[in-house]
Assembly symmetry: C2
Homo-oligomer: 340 residues x 2
């Protein structure tokens, strides 16, 4: 089977987006009405998925998407912790409804109620709810809740340790994924996302996080940001910092996805990164929802690029399925229960 | 001839570094002695270059380096504007001395007395001094004087316009180059540098800077950060933002260097970026001064990677020489005067 490890619910029903709008307005001006989520029917959710993500999934020949709320919509830098909690719960519940309607094609990954100044311990409760009650298999962890101001601590700081302990205990990985940017220097999907990927990798290279958490598994999306293009630089920096080769020091615990929207980029990714560390993904629908005039296909139809690689059947199966089942043990168990 | 467009004086004599140390100490505690630059002999400078950059230049078969002060040493976020001015002037004078001692092998590019809160107009005087009096052919422009806090305005903001006007008037390009990082999230050469490259490109893609400055020429170092690896993403984002193809909208004015430290990265760079937009460079000596155990050669010996490309003689000449002469018109004139 073919598993896409990085999909977002970016086709949410209007009532859902209206709630968020009202929530922000109410936070900014308490005189505006408190937000209320209008009823959203199963039919509405079904249509929003069937006409979009599921349609593309089928057309492209994939089977299942590891599905999470819109990343730029998490907006941890907006409002306060209570607001982030309410919004996060509603967002995750929406993912759960999608998964219940399409259990064969979607499985959940949650956003977290992170908020500037809030200890990461406060995100554990929602993680446990999603994993233990809703059957989610992972989470998206925002390394910069300030939304592009980068005022928090690096991922190797002990600030994050209570959360990493819980991830290991629950056997769920985290995708390191920022949200929107309130810094005018950083376009969200064109700069902030990619910078965060590069930044996270370099933090891992500098630090010793995986000595303390040998079983922790983290996914860096968007092909690992700039890392594969500068793989020589990172190998060299590891040497200069007295660190082992990145394959030893980082890549036993870190995985890159294939959200790289052209053949040349995918070719490079597979040339320098071990196939065990690459998970198929499309970001569908994420940064670019458009047809590439050079190919006539959607930019985010990344399966085509992988199909074009001269991979052995065994390696192809790792990228499309095996690695995901290994990195997300709860996905593996859910599939096995179904005889898959 | 072979011109390396990106080299730094990272082998400065000890007295020079001692000045900076004293300058910072004096700023932090006025009770410490005011900094004074001890005499540095020509012999000392000569040795620091002959044993290092010039040795590598000769061994690698290149002819000339466009040479600027240590990038991480610019430290615009440290101290105040007066301190930045004093340090910048001394740093540029050191480059001038190197160029005077080795006029055939080095030509100068200046750092600027940028400082948080200071208008960019205040950098014009030092630029003019370096270009008009010292014969420098370009400058390094720091897009984030806050040193990783990114509190300033994007490069497309009118804040920068007076400086861009001066660059066009003087016919000198700027390399967009950050300095050190005081943000613990960003390792300087492993994250901050690369993020800044990616960020600058995306700012240009979003904005309309080159409509206002059709003759402005900017170099994004380190192979353009993450951009070539995500070239499909940027082509797609341009489309979604209603912008022309990046080749039209950005790359008539923007050039990438070849500071990418492995063959796979260089191969990708040349596969997606037009050869007219690529300038040979090594960053020598920059982020990684070490031997790659996979090749047995220095990581930053980037000429080897270009030599290994199947380029036509004409294209090779563009990358090694022609593009640099076009992007740095004052270099072109200086070479022509010498019959080169």
């Amino acid at each position: 089977m073919i598993i896409d490890c990085h999909g977002h619910y970016t086709t949410e029903p209007p009532a859902f987006m209206a709630f968020r709008k009202a929530q922000i307005a109410h936070f900014e001006d308490a005189a505006t009405p408190a937000p209320e989520l209008a009823a959203i029917s199963d039919a509405e959710i079904r249509e929003s998925i069937e006409m979009n993500q599921l349609k593309a999934l089928r057309e492209r020949g994939a089977d299942m998407t590891i599905f999470s709320p819109r990343a730029s919509g998490m907006g941890h830098h907006i409002g306060d912790e209570a607001m982030s909690k309410a919004w996060t719960r509603i967002s995750n519940d929406m993912i759960h409804r999608v998964v219940q309607l399409f259990p064969e094609n979607f499985i959940g990954v949650c956003q977290l109620p992170q908020s500037p100044g809030a200890p990461i311990e406060n995100s554990v409760e929602e993680l446990e709810r999603c994993v233990l009650e809703l059957g989610f298999v992972g989470c998206n962890l925002n390394p910069d809740v300030s939304g592009g101001m980068w005022t928090g601590a690096p991922l190797t700081d002990r600030f994050w340790y209570p959360f990493f302990e819980k991830l290991v205990e629950l056997e769920v990985p985290a995708m390191i994924h920022v949200s929107g940017s309130c810094n005018p220097n950083f376009h969200a999907t064109g700069a902030h996302y990619i910078n965060a990927d590069t930044t996270a990798f370099m933090q891992f290279l500098q630090g010793d996080l995986f000595r303390d958490f040998p079983d922790l598994k983290l996914i860096i999306p968007h092909g690992g940001g700039a890392v594969p293009f500068h793989w020589g630089r990172y190998r060299g920096l590891a040497q200069m910092l007295g660190r082992p080769h990145p394959n030893e020091h980082v890549m036993r615990n870190v995985f890159f996805d294939t959200c790289v929207y052209h053949q040349a980029g995918i070719d490079l990714l597979f040339r320098v990164i071990e196939v065990e560390n690459i998970l198929f993904a499309s970001e569908m629908f994420g940064a670019v929802k458009a047809i590439d005039p050079e190919t006539g296909h959607q930019f985010d139809d990344t399966k085509r690029f992988i199909d074009a690689l001269p991979l052995s059947a065994a390696n192809r199966a790792k990228v499309f399925e095996g690695n995901a089942r290994r990195v997300y043990p709860r996905l593996e168990r859910a599939l096995r229960v179904r005889g898959l």
